[in-house]
Amino acid sequence: MARARIAQPVRAPAGLRIRPVEAADLDQVIAIASDITGKKKTDYWYELFHRYGAGRSRQRLFLVAESGGEIQGFIIGEVRDWEFGSAPCGWVFGINVRPNARLAGIGTRLLEAICAGFRHAGVDTVRTLIARDNSLVLSFFRSQGMMASAVIPLEKDLG
């Protein structure tokens, strides 16, 4: 189980930069998301781009990690005001990195960039919501210093 002492290092793609998503990036963003989730949801991504893309609002952020014209990953989030009785805070509701580009710090760069955007928008807390069995993404956010929130999500089957 624990024999491999060091994780195989992956070099970050040369010239990686984090920037707001552009319309021309969407096909690659959709490909990354559908590779991972198995669902293409093209309309959903165009709608998200319309609402969050290209720096339309300081409170809504849709960023991509790009190197040499190739999109390596993306992150989406927004500042929400006074929901659930809490002070305004940043919410990350989507993050993905190409599977073959992982372990190179791209997710960390994306999260740092969106957190800088949230700070710029005047908030000092970031939250996210992850399925309990999604160990990969849970571990990533934990590795970035995120802890259990004071907010507990609840749900009920309406069937």
Binding site: M1, A2, R5, D133, S135, L138, S139, R142, S143, G145
Partner: protein, 150 residues
Amino acid sequence: MRLQISTSLALYSVLEFAANPERAISAADIAAKYEVSTHHLAKVLRELVRAGILESTRGVGGGYRFAGNTRRLTLLDIIELFEDLGDGAGRSRQPGASTDVGSALGVVLTEIDEIAKATFRSVTVSTMLRLIERQRDTAAQIPHKRTRRG
């Protein structure tokens, strides 16, 4: 949540060894730091060696050394070597478990167990080492803040 003593000793030990991966540390050194019996700790360390998390080194300066991958090894991996965090099966054998009240209570307790397991599964040794570092930094800043206020 309360962990068994062996589990806590295993977690303390793994984090000590992982923080100094190139250094062999003796069981006596760890036992002295955490004020526990060397005999009890040695049994825990042997189990960690069997699991491939530690390796023992012989000779002068011998002891144990970390042999795992800090970015892959989770708290749950270590905990499950020493105790069963449960799938509720043990609880269903307790007196009253089959009553309406016992069954409803079981639902809540299972929910708590699942959250605890998901948390332990999501925290790697590497994440813990960073958390320890942050705690240390925070502790170091408190006297500084007090001095500034004073």
